[in-house]
Symmetry: D2
Amino acid sequence: MSPERRFIAAVIGSAHATAEEERVAGALGAAVIAGGFRLVTGGLDGVMLAASRGAREAAGYQSGDVIGVLPSYEAASANPYVDIPICTGLNHARNLIVVATADVVLVVGGWSGTLSEMALAWQIGRPVIAVQTTTGWGGRLAGAPLDERRQDVVHGPLPPEGAVALARELVRAPRVPLTGFG
Amino acid sequence: MSPERRFIAAVIGSAHATAEEERVAGALGAAVIAGGFRLVTGGLDGVMLAASRGAREAAGYQSGDVIGVLPSYEAASANPYVDIPICTGLNHARNLIVVATADVVLVVGGWSGTLSEMALAWQIGRPVIAVQTTTGWGGRLAGAPLDERRQDVVHGPLPPEGAVALARELVRAPRVPLTGFG
Amino acid sequence: MSPERRFIAAVIGSAHATAEEERVAGALGAAVIAGGFRLVTGGLDGVMLAASRGAREAAGYQSGDVIGVLPSYEAASANPYVDIPICTGLNHARNLIVVATADVVLVVGGWSGTLSEMALAWQIGRPVIAVQTTTGWGGRLAGAPLDERRQDVVHGPLPPEGAVALARELVRAPRVPLTGFG
Amino acid sequence: MSPERRFIAAVIGSAHATAEEERVAGALGAAVIAGGFRLVTGGLDGVMLAASRGAREAAGYQSGDVIGVLPSYEAASANPYVDIPICTGLNHARNLIVVATADVVLVVGGWSGTLSEMALAWQIGRPVIAVQTTTGWGGRLAGAPLDERRQDVVHGPLPPEGAVALARELVRAPRVPLTGFG
């Protein structure tokens, strides 16, 4: 058998991104690859596209490093930087698969779809780190817990490199066990 | 064919409810039935159970009025006040089905699972109303939009009867169209 | 609390039904209600509509007896005989929810969607009964097991009343335990 | 941007495989990689494991070529030859994601889970090819259509290399459009 499985980091954020969010997402995508992770996103535009492009252009990038979990059955709906389109046909329920597939979740800005992903990540025990922007749910919830079932908080806000450095620590820590519904 | 379909109201909130939340959820479940709605919840404990019991004990209750959308394949996992257990086997992805099945979503307290449901309801165009409690995500987000893609806000906080009165107005208003991912 | 939960029977079959299939589905929907079950279908046309209409027109029908599990987020996509539209947004993945929600699955004719539902019902331990028609996957697989993990077979083919009589026996038998993937 | 996206082939079959099925699946996994595809499976044991191991040991294999779509939230539930575990938490509903993610679906043996995947693949327009074994649903349905909504059939049965050669042709042909439910 091959060496240990590589960890996967999700970058989540809006399909309707600001210029600042796209810039941050691009740097973050590159830092994710430089940090030894594969990248998973929701596979569409805005933050998802910018992070995927950043990953593709990173020094250590290899084909297969950029995964996109799509709401439709159509691989062609993925942004052009996705190597591996996962077609779900599940519409918004695909949000859960994005964060479940990740060992750690990095947030850039974020509209309501991103908020749902942060909340689902929290519920299923994935660490969540807000990346520094002036906008969106990532920064707004940074530093606080999403409820009492976990001892940690939404980490950050941190710049891209700091977020990835923290991500590397967190994925090596023991997993937070799942604790029910609600 | 029979008369017009009855509207469905979701009551969402934690499986780990406070005594106040359970009291409010019970009154809300009763008000939902009195207001002519069927009730849908996530089918488990805490707020879900209290709302289902309140609905069952309401004057106008008829068998078939209380729906529970379960994370597992087992109808027996529903609380005893659910008439119609919808078995999904989808774990937390069932959250989306709870709010998609509802014409309007009423929030009591709320941990991270509830937060994910509020955000998903917002994304797919369902009106969201916070019901008055001293706890949780419902009250914390009341009065504000969850992002820029809708013109409305998380309504409330309102007491149970006021929340149902508003719900009756909102379900008769034209539906907010869906507006993408992110 | 109220008396014991009523059992739910699924009627599955094609949205593109023959005249014979629609006639059988209508009689079956009526027999399901007469047998004390609620009805669940996929909520759309053809066999689903005919069974729902048959249920609505049955003597013992009460509002809330006809459930439709829809592929979209839109309750308005249900056929007009559905009392309780369950909106999933999951496209074909909603097939699994139809059979998981049922205590027993009745097959009329059937194209590939129906075949997927028979196979999923088998996997999660729901009894499957083919109803007598000259067409489709129900009859074609009647009398045989779908694999070695269960001791029973796809029952039938039986006429509508016989199928419901058998369904009443089977739902009272101990549940077949789930046995993995593949 | 990088060169054209690589096609993805699914290998589906039972977690309870015979020795013959495992041998065929191993050869098929290797042929899939040699044919320029990435591989997707359900990520567990039996045929899924054997195909993933075959892919890993193929000459042209690169890290990232072996995808496993898991029923649980736990990456650790994947067989050790999976590079990219997609965690869904959706239990059997993950079957649909396996075939939707594939551009072409190759069947080895097959119990009821595999039958559900063949039927779902047919419904959403993915070509299906049975690979030569003496067992299971693949061979049993080879040469026939699953319903009238497509003009083609379940191809095969063919030996592994022939199946992959046909797969390469079929993924370059125009996609069969989707045609509804049932």
